[in-house]
């Protein structure tokens, strides 16, 4: 019995370790490939954290959310406001509430606060939105994104005037630190999967009727998942702010929502491995495409693709994936202990493909 429980503990732990190793290895390789690729890798890791946040909610609850980028946006805003130099704020963001001019925080504290603000927003709206299902939930979360985007675009009391950007965010986050934050987030997401709310939600997602019959009320569990994933999305927003160093609400809207959802679908919605593999593969394809757009020497030939072809290829990858392998690259499975045959994570179905 003790042995069995040891296996049960070690098997899934392997899935965590392998994910951490993959992210570490990909980052390490890319860090050797020059300045430009390093910068792209930092953005890739930020996207990866957003995708992990999406997976923590969508994959666990089965409810569609187009709203997580709203949490990313408020997280980014928080970090921007807390890290820009007070003098700069006074000059560039003159309409802001005066108290915001002097609030400052070290970048790491700011990022954590950004996460908490994201989580707070999720906790406030969650009890309402989490009562909805299917398309209705999708539209309602989308509406949330719409409201947040509008407020951040136009409300100059908490940011720039409309059409302007928030600038002057300090350059403190290098690739290595970005990776460390990402690894911590992956551990948090992995731990979350094993909590009671997450297990209940997975059970309810697989068999709603049985879950209802056994008296599981999914709404509070969903709110918890929404809030925790909101924190992670907020942290991702903070990372984005420190990586991009210029903030505009339009960067954190429908397009980012689409791209991160595409990454999740590519990898497989139902597993954490899916989120990570999807984000990495998508980013690697993107990386190659960027190189190709500027031309790559192969022997005596220069291979290049036209400007603008990159997003087209990425969209085709998503559509092709939905057509031919709708359960994603990982098929909803976690990585398993290589000495055992494919066993799904407890509570995760091997979905139809």
């Amino acid at each position: 019995m003790a042995q069995k429980s040891l296996m049960w503990r070690l098997g899934p732990l392997w899935s965590l370790v392998s994910l951490l190793l993959i992210v570490y290895a990909v980052t390490l390789v890319n860090s050797r490939l020059g300045e430009g690729i390093q910068v792209q890798m930092r953005y890739a890791l930020v996207n990866l954290v957003i995708v992990v946040a999406l997976q923590m909610f969508i994959g666990t609850s089965g409810v569609l959310s187009f709203g997580h980028v709203a949490f990313v946006a408020v997280g980014a805003w928080t970090v921007g406001l807390l890290t820009i130099d007070p003098e700069l704020k006074r000059n560039l963001l003159p309409d802001m509430f005066p108290f915001l001019f002097d609030v400052q925080a070290p970048w790491l504290v700011a990022v954590i606060l950004g996460g908490l603000v994201g989580g707070l927003l999720a906790v406030i709206v969650g009890p309402f939105l989490m009562r909805l299902n299917g398309l209705q939930a999708g539209i309602a979360t989308f509406a949330l994104l719409g409201v947040v985007s509008q407020v951040l675009t136009y409300w100059s009391s908490i940011g720039p005037r409309s059409g302007q950007s928030m600038v002057g965010i300090p350059d403190v986050l290098d690739l290595q630190t970005t990776m460390l934050i990402t690894l911590v987030i992956i551990v948090i997401a992995w731990l979350f999967q094993r909590t009671k709310p997450a297990r209940l939600l997975r059970a309810a997602r697989e068999d709603p009727i049985a879950a209802a019959a056994s008296g599981i009320n999914v709404v509070p569990q969903r709110v918890i998942a929404f809030a925790v994933s909101g924190v992670v999305a907020g942290v991702a927003g903070g990372m984005f702010a420190l990586t991009n160093r210029v903030l505009q609400a339009s960067q954190l809207g429908i397009e980012l929502t689409f791209i991160t959802l595409a990454m999740l679908v590519l990898g497989g919605v139902l597993s954490l491995s899916g989120a990570i593999v999807g984000a990495l593969v998508f980013s690697l394809i993107d990386l190659v495409l960027v190189q190709l757009q500027s031309g790559v020497d192969i022997g005596s030939f220069v291979v290049s693709i036209p400007q603008g072809a990159r997003p087209i290829v990425l969209a085709l990858v998503l559509i092709g994936m939905l057509l031919w392998r709708p359960s994603g690259l990982t098929g909803g499975r976690e990585f398993v202990w290589p000495f055992r045959k494919h066993a799904p994570l407890p509570g995760n179905p091997v979905t139809n493909d």
């Binding site: 909805l132 299917g134 398309l135 309602a140 989308f142 997003p311 939905l322």
Partner: protein, 294 residues
């Protein structure tokens, strides 16, 4: 008083436009549970066609725009959605997002990111004065066009066999197939009609702006989709009414909110949407509970 009348006509026209767009989405959703976000790119395709061919004369340009919109709509079905019959509405929506994104980038590659302009039906851009009330010709034309299309659609759906088949399939696709209505026929028909409606939306919005860019159809599609869902996307009339409501509300808010608040008009509309979804998740026009099949 005159200002009220003016804003009322404008709101009716905005409602009519969004109602048509929501109907374009609702017709397809009723049959195959696809809320097609890429309807926006059909609108954009129609709009580009109008801009590029307007100098050939309206009698060429308008039919051409309709043909392009219908063909693009059918192409979407044949190339992507017909291969996804087993997918859930959420997955279909994501696929349509992908298609929308793809086509926007294709437009960008073909026609650049800059807007293309042409004075499409510029006669309609004037306003006329009736008893001291200034009224946009375009608003009147939009309302008339919508009335005409809706009457035509209603006659088609109730008086012709093909229309009845579509109506039956939109109400209950499974049963429709079981009694012998061919799936491919009604699905194709719904995409074609959706294309025609999108072309109509393209016409009125292109006249209004005279300028078309790669993301031209996106804002209207967002509002139309949202409207269709709150009206009850399961029913053709629900989608229409919801789209109208959102268009009407947005226009009224734009006319009557003070300047510094009218920037937030979409935010108010979205909050309204969340409120409606919470109170009536099945849609404003759908009676009873649990009518939504998702």
């Amino acid at each position: 008083m005159s200002q009220l009348l003016q804003s009322l006509v404008d709101a009716l026209s905005a409602g009519a436009t969004l109602g048509l767009a929501a109907l374009a989405i609702g017709l397809v959703f009723g049959v195959i549970r696809l809320a097609n976000f890429a309807t926006g790119e059909i609108i954009t395709a129609g709009a580009y066609t109008l801009i590029f061919t307007w100098q050939l004369g309206w009698y060429i340009s308008i039919p051409f725009a309709i043909i392009v919109a219908v063909l693009l709509s059918l192409l979407m079905e044949l190339s992507v959605f017909s291969r996804m019959r087993a997918a859930t509405p959420a997955t279909l929506l994501i696929a349509s997002f992908g298609l929308s994104f793809l086509l926007q980038r294709v437009y960008e590659l073909a026609f650049t990111n800059n807007v293309q302009t042409a004075p499409v039906a510029s006669e309609l851009a004037q306003s006329i004065s009736i008893g001291g009330v200034r009224i946009q010709m375009l608003s009147v034309a939009t309302i008339l066009l919508a009335a005409l299309l809706l009457t035509g659609l209603q006659l088609f759906l109730t008086r012709t066999s093909l229309g009845l088949q579509l109506k039956a399939a939109a109400a209950d696709f499974k049963t429709a197939r079981l009694i012998g209505i061919p799936a491919s026929r009604v699905i194709g028909l719904s995409f074609a009609l959706s294309g025609i409606l999108a072309a109509a939306v393209a016409f009125v919005t292109t006249v209004q702006t005279g300028a078309v860019g790669p993301t031209f159809g996106v804002p209207i599609t967002i509002l139309a989709l949202v409207g269709a869902v709150i009206g009850g996307i399961d029913k053709i009339s629900g989608a229409l009414a919801g789209g109208f409501l959102v268009g009407f509300a947005t226009s009224m808010l734009a006319s009557w909110l003070p300047q510094d608040m009218s920037n937030f008009k979409d935010a108010y509309v979205f909050m309204l949407v969340i409120g409606v979804l919470l109170m009536r998740p099945q849609g404003l026009l759908i009676r009873g509970r649990g009518a939504v099949r998702t």
